[in-house]
Structures are given as C-alpha cells and as structure tokens.
Symmetry: C3
Subunit: 397 residues, 3 copies
C-alpha cells in the first residue's frame, strides 16, 4: 500500500478528499544476504576461485525512496510529478542524494501524456518487463546493453541505458483498447560553434583557440520509441532507439547505437510465460579507420516463466547473449544464464525471497553475477562459471 | 496548495487539528526547453555564434523539495523549522543532497522571530522581490553581485550572496502596521590564534610552524539588514550589508563588500510597477598595493511591470549594470538586459510559461543568459548580444 | 510528538486507522552558538590560545531527518523499516545525502527482531545511554573509541564505531521481564581468492598479478553483543565486541579491537545517577614486529547525574580516560572532562539549553572539545586545557 501525505485543508473536509491534492511518499527497502563464486581455469586445468558474501540491497526489488503526486486540472487534464531516488539500505551510504531513478513533471489529457526530465528509456522496458526476475538481483538477465564483456573490452555503449536525462517523453493515452506506446527524445545539451571549423576563427568548446581539440556535437542524444498491446493474458511490445554515443564535431564522424527488442508474456493462470529477443548494433557513419575500435554488437534472447504457489511465486529464466567483436582474429564471446527463485509474500508489502543463478561464459566472455566480484583473468586463466544467490526480505511502503 | 503531513493523534480527533503538530512537505518541479545564442564579433566584423538547446529546471520558479513545520508553544510563542533543498529535475542529478536553499530553526513571539542556520541574506531580497522575473530563468535581472563579468575578471565578491550559513537572523513581528524588517549576522567560524604574529610562537591555522602562511580572520562574516513598508498597493524596502570577503590576519588587511539596494513596487490593478537601485562597493581597509587587484564596483537599476490577463500574467523587465574596474587603462564594462514573458496559470499549482531575454554587452562585459554557454572571447573577438528563451511548465506541491 | 504520514484509504475510514499503514517522518533540528578555547604552554610558561565561535548543529540532540514505518503482518509478526539521515542545519550542507545514522529493514515476532542494514553497534550504546550528555555536544564524554589522542597518534581503531554497515542484528523480545539484549554481526564484504598465496597463481584483490600486494581478508567485520536489565529505577547493561580493524590475507596477520563496557543508571526521583566503565584492547594475533606500531589501549570511566527542576533538567558528568601506548619511552596520555548543563523544555518537542565543558590533558594527550579546533602542539608547546560551551535550541518533529 502506498502512503499518501494528505493536504491539511482536505483533512478537515473529510471524505471529500480527491486525488488532486495528494502527495505520495513511497519506497522499497530490500536487503539480502548474497554470495558469489567465480571460477577461472588455466590451460593446465588449475582453478582459481573468487568468492564473496555480502549484505546487499535490491535483491528482489530495487531499494528506493520517492515522492510523487498528481493534480486534477479539470476538463480531463492533470499535472503530476515523480521524484524517485535509489537508496543503498545495506550500508546507508546513499540517501536521497539524487533522483536518478526518475525525475519528471507531466501534463496529461485525452491526447496522452507529455513528460519532461529523467526517465526510463523506451528500449529499457522490454528488458525488465519480460524478465521474470525484473532485471534485479543475482537472477537479472544478460540482455542489458552496458557492462564489461571482459577486462578491457567494455560494452558501455550508452549513458542512456537504462535511463535518459533531459528528455521529452510522449505516452499514448490508456484508452486505445489495449494498445500502448511511448516516444522519447533526449537533448544532448552540447554547445554548437558556428563557424566551428578547425581553422580560424574556429574555436573549441571552451572558447579557447582550437589546437586540435574536438568538440562533441550530438553525443548524448537519444531518440526511441516503444509500442505494444496488452489485453487479457497477453502482453507484447517492441522497442527501437538510436542513441548517439559519441561523435567528433571536427572530424565529422558520429557513433550511433541502434537498439531493437521485442518481448511478450502470456498468462495461462497456472503459469505465466515470458520471452524476449534483443539486438544492439554499434554503427559509425564513416568507414572504420585502422586506429579506431570497431563497434561491438549484441544479440540475445530470454525465455522464462513464473508459477504462483499460494502466497508465493516460483520464478525461472534463461537468457543467452552473443557479442560480435568484428575482429576476425578473435572468437565472439557468448554467455548464458539460468536463474531460479522463490518469493514468499508475507503481505502485499513484505516478502521473503531466495534466488540462485549461474552464468556460463565462453570464448573469453567474463560476465559476472549482477553486483559480484570480477573473475580472475590474468596469467592465462579463462573465466568460466559464475554463480550467486540472494536470500532476502523486501519491504515496500 | 501546500501538502501537510498530519500528526497521527490529531487525525483521530478529526477537525480539532491545529497547526501545532503539522509538518509540511512542499516543493516545485519546474522544467523548460531553453535555448541560448551568444554572438561575438572580431574587428573585421566576422561573427562567431555559440548556441545550445537544453531541457532545464527552474525556468519560472526554482525547483525544490522541502520540509517545514511549526509548533505552538502557547503564550504567543512558537517554534519552527524549515529545511529546503534545491533539486535538478531535468537530469535528476541533485536530490535532497543538501538544504542549501534554507536550513533554519526558529523561535517566534511578540518580539518577532529569531532564526538560526542558513537563510537568504537581507540584501538578496530586493534583487528578487522587485524583479518581475523573480531573478529566475533566462529573464533574471543583472543586479546580482556574483558571477563573471568577463573571462578572468570575476565579480565573485561573496560566498554570502544570495544566502549565508551559520547565521543568526532577527525579524520584526508582523504587527507593526505594514513596517517590516530583518537583521542578519553570519559567523565567520575562523579559528583565532593568540598570539598569532608572524614570528614564533606565532602559528598558522593548521597549528604548524608559521612559514609565511596567512591565517584568515574574519573572512566569511556577513552583517546586514533590510527594512521596508508594505501597505495596500505599495511595497518599498531598503537593504544594506557589510560582507567580509577576504582578509589577512597577519598582514592586517581586510576586504569588505558593502552592498546597498532599494526597491519598490506599486500595484495599479491593471498593471504592477517594479523598480530597484543597487550598488556594491569593494573596500580594502588599507591602501591598494601595486600587486593587489583593486575591487570592482557595481551600480545598477531595474524597472519592470506585470499585467494580469485573465488566468495569465505578462511580465517585462529592463535592468542595467555598470562595473567600475578602478583601472584607468580599461573602459568600464556595462550591460543591459530586457526580458519579456507570459505565464499561463492552469491552476494555482500548475503553470505554463514562455520567456525571452536579450543582453547587450559593452566595453568588454561578457554577461551571459542565466545558465547559458560562455561567449567566444579569444582571438580578438568581442562579446556582444546574448539571447535566450524558456518554454516550460511549473508544478508546485 | 512524531509526525505520521497517514495512508489515504485509512484517512477516509477515520478512527479505524492502525499502525500497519503508517509511515512516520521524524527529525531533529538543533542549533547552538558554540565556543571553544584551547590553551597550550611551552617550557618557558608562555601560552598560545586557540579559540573559535561558531553556529553549530547538534548541541543537545543530533540533528537528523528520517522516515520509518511498520506493517502488522498478523500472528504477532511485523515488518518495519528505518531510514535516518544526519543533517547539518547550521550550514545546510548536508541534506538527506545518506542514511548513515540508521538504514534497516526488520522482521519481528515473538522470537524478537531480526534487523538488516546499518545500525548502532551494541558496544556503542552504553557510551551514549549512560552519559547524562548523551555523548552529544560540548559535554560528550571521552569514552568513545575513535579520534586523535594527539597529532600523529590516532586512536581510530574501527570504522565500526559507533555504527556498522552490512550487519545482521538480533534483538531479544520486550517480554522478558526487564531483560534486554542484542547481537550484531557485520559482513566484512572482502573478496576471497582461493588459492590466494603470494606465489602464482596467487592474485591480488583486483585480479591483477600479485606483485607484493596484500589482500585484506576480514577487515571490517564486527561481532558483538549487549545485555542488560531495566526495571523500575534501575537500568544496567554490559557489552562486548570483537572488531577486525585490519589484517593481511597474505601475511596471515589480523588486528582485532576488543571492546568491553558496562554502565548503569539509577533514578532516585530527585536525582538520577549514571556510571560507566569502558575498556578497549588492540590485539594483533602475532608477535608485534619491530616496524609495526603496537596497539593503543583505552581504559575509562564516567560518573554523572541529572536533576529535574520543573520543566528543566540539570545535567552533570565527569569522565576520565587513560591510554596505554605500549611504548616504554613515552608516558601514557590521560585526560579528564567535566561537563555541566541545563535544559529548559518549552514543550516536549522544543528545548533551550546551555552546556559548558572542560578537558584537562596530561602526558601529551591533546583531546579537544567535540567539534572544536585543534591544540597548538608544535615548537615545544604542550596541550593543556580545552573549554567549550553550547547555547542552543533543539526542535524535534
């Protein structure tokens, strides 16, 4: 149950309270005892094991604290805000230091909703909604488009995954017979110099004489959308985005990440089935030069299910991801992950849960359990299997 | 409408709720699409244009989140607190990381109010209250006493503008027939060493042997006041402060900024008129030495008006500022700004707004639109006109 | 009185509200004008005085802002959370940046309570509960086990004083006829390498080739407990902990701080008496090598009393502490502190207070008033007496 902070005037009028004057304080405090074991082997078959046991946050739902509210403007219009902070309740180190989970102001009407600020990107949602594990905890799927494939080979394509700042979002109204959708444009907020050529009076971004400096132009911009259909037991959605992850104003080059994914779930009652296909392409709009690293592509999929058992829920997921390094001399890394969990709901707000997960790395991939330690990768050792568990409690308010 | 968090016990007694047990959660989430264009020209008449388009916060009202409350102590006395944080809702990067907007505890009675903590300085208020733009957004007036006049020539006279920490404030009671007023003293919180001469046993601020080190003595102290009269359509106030912006304990020198301003507004009903005069003097209490930079003085004024139009408000302001560099070889920079805006209130809490502003710089001034990029100033270019716009929504709670 | 944020649905049903849906917003805003004077003398009898006058927070109660709540799960079970942030209301610099005061999620039942996250350590409580000054403000006792004895001679034995992160706590139920108690285990969260020897394939903590690097193994772990009995006017409790403050995985050494304290209070009605004995032992589980600094031990005690006077409370405390440097050539530093204060309660929530305190240092100890400046210790000067005062207001909500 969400807690609401009631307007003082309203309280005095009692039952006449309406949604227009409510501010909701909400949050999740989720703590788990978690463990991780990573095994690497060398050519002689010797194994080095890396392990750690922690008290962690966010094993089942991400710990957070937020404030949100709506105001009825009449005529079918409403305004609203949503400020949501991540918190690290295991060590208390992160309070409401930022609202990086969501920070928006909205105007809604028959036309839908326009939302300004920082929010999830359209292309993130399928990775989360169609994962029985919700892309949280040790069981989170592998389809996310950030992280390190192996030491020195990062797949950090975008600062806009899973969220983008400085964005304008548009959402279809909830009156379209099950069809839903959203578009997002995120400002890059880079300064433009005109003229900005490399010869005088060209000047660099700092306004200083341009001595070989490179002014970024559109890096940081995100344009994407997601459309779906949900009716009865079925939910299916597809998303696509172009994300400018780097560019050179003077060299005239642009690096764009093109993300596409499609996911679906179907609830048979005794069992709910989940599936997703995901693809990422790194594109540079000019011929890859000898010195530049080619982009790394990702292809992945997920299948999973949940089974309700009284007040509990069994969750299972399998995800697989392959990376194309575009480097003929190197094998393309790939990894698969299986996750199994049980959630026992003590109430709507409070649940106990247990999750186990296992990642198998091949061809040099060194993917680790979400939050766990790195593999040993030096001295001829090859990363192999990473396993992890969460044993925790989730309390929401 | 402000939201209040009602005491549990009070709720059970229903309508008997009084102010004594209320805690109010309040805030503003303001987002705007903003743009900036700065033009510099060289002696040959060639122009370099710097531009940027952002999603920004605080175009009409400053985005914030706060907690405040009062307790009725009986006998006309009350206690209260006010904790108010700035937030950056465009990118979510700043949550409730600090209460730098206001952080006070108060004791009030017939005598007035004593307030301890961090608060606006008396000399700030006229710059804000008598600006139709409220010194916020692209249209904010030029009379503030911090910022860069031009690259390398900062006018950062004070860390105590617009607020001071570690302060004791006194406010006249609201029972004086329209007269109002406040005094503020801010502790410098510097350590004093006695003896603290430059010879042994003189010691520097760290308690280490004094090898030419200089211990600051009163830098950071602010002493000021503001007095005014508000009755019917008229509001007029004057403020003055001495702010110790730097000093040398061992050299016996002190840098003081003396600020004076006077402002007024008169509401004719169809139009409300605003005006302000502002002056800043940087004083060093000994002869300016050859090596030391002389202080920069500021003189400025503002005129403006607002016109209510149904649920909307037209706002216009013109401000002009001149700096005296006290350097005969250099012309004294000056700048003027014109700002025009319209606010459309959808409700008391929610408004749409549009503002445009234009700054003209002369004699080397390089003042930019509030939040915008810097001018190109190198290679013989002279800063000229800066323009900007805000197109946004303000939602308060 | 604590403020509670009431659930919206509950409000409409009026008096049927129960604890299960409440979230409580609570806090303290405490500000004081404080002063400090430290006097050092050299062999010729010359004195250097260090002084400072501040506006400070937390003179009587520590300033804070928090959110907490409980949910009734039925059958005698309940879940709860507690997120409490320190705030610096004198300068507004610290908002809800972290929940370092407490950040826990709990499950309670007939068996007691299991609490996960960051919380006070068992060994901290006696230092606070049995100090008439609550270990806050200028009068705080000397028995805390962190801080600097003198420049270059820190007594920072533990990052787990007064709180530990990543902990599992267990609390006895409040149904044991006055007996109470708690246990705490704090995860060290260090990564383990197996094999982790100093020779290949030994690898350091970063997974890089081990070139003399030392991987810590159990540093950060805290294991402790506290048990007591409170009935009528009597309250007595003892606590003990072992805290791994440093170790070397490769060298096979471990530094452990062993803390023991016992405190008691007895309320005679017209006067409440307080007392505590405290002991800290730094133990290294191998012979102290020539290069390593031996641990510093602490022995201390406190006696004090409070006397209620109408709406006020007189508070007095004397504490003394001796350090054993285990260095025969050096005298063992010692210090004593006397503190006297008066609290005048304007209401349950609001109080005015005044406190004075005086520390006498001997044998090179340089203990300062809580929050005050350092002594002058250079050039043959010996730290002597430190005095301080708080004159403030505490407002809670």
């Amino acid at each position: 149950m969400k807690q609401k902070l009631i307007g003082f005037a309203l309280m005095l009028v009692g039952g006449a309270a309406t949604a227009q004057s409510s501010v909701t304080l909400f949050g999740v405090v989720d703590a788990a005892i978690s463990g991780f074991i990573n095994k690497s082997t060398d050519r002689a078959g010797r194994t080095v094991t890396v392990s750690r046991h922690d008290l962690r946050n966010s094993g089942y739902n991400t710990s957070r604290l937020g404030f949100r509210g709506t105001e009825d403007l009449g005529g079918g219009w409403s305004a609203g805000f949503w400020l949501e902070a991540p918190i690290t309740n295991d060590d208390g180190a992160t309070g409401i230091a930022n609202f990086s989970r969501r920070s928006t102001v909205s105007l809604s009407g028959d036309f839908g909703e326009v939302r300004l600020g920082r929010d999830h990107t359209p292309t993130y949602w399928n990775n989360s909604v169609f994962d029985p594990m919700g892309q949280v905890g040790v069981g989170a799927n592998l389809l996310n488009s950030v992280g390190s494939i192996s030491p020195g080979r990062d797949f950090k394509a975008s600062t806009n995954y899973p969220r983008a700042s400085n964005s304008i979002g548009y959402f279809l109204p909830p009156t379209l017979g099950g069809w839903y959708g959203q578009l997002m444009y995120s400002f890059h907020e880079n300064t433009k110099y005109d003229p900005g050529s490399a010869t005088p009076p060209g000047l660099n971004a700092a306004g200083a004489p341009n001595t070989g400096a490179v002014a970024t132009a559109r890096a940081g911009r995100y344009v994407g959308g997601r459309f779906g259909y949900a009716s009865g037991p079925l939910d299916v959605a597809a998303a696509y985005a172009q994300d400018t992850t780097g560019d050179s104003y003077y060299a005239g080059t642009t690096d764009v990440t093109k993300t596409a994914n499609v996911g679906a779930s179907y609830d048979f009652g005794v069992l709910k089935l989940f599936g997703e296909l995901a693809r990422e392409r790194r594109v540079r709009d000019y011929a890859v030069t000898s010195g530049a690293s080619p982009g790394i592509d990702l292809d992945g999929y997920l299948v999973g299910f949940t089974v309700p058992v009284g007040p509990g829920l069994i969750r299972a997921a399998y995800s697989q991801v392959r990376y194309d390094l575009h480097t003929p001399a190197l094998p393309n890394p790939k990894a698969s992950k299986v996750a199994l969990g049980y959630v026992h709901n003590l109430s709507k707000r409070t649940a106990l849960y247990a999750t186990v997960a296992r990642i198998s790395n091949k061809n040099g991939a060194a993917l680790t359990i979400n939050g766990g330690p790195a593999f040993v990768t030096n001295a001829g050792y090859t990363p192999g299997v990473a396993t992890g568990y969460d044993l925790g409690i989730r309390h929401s308010f």
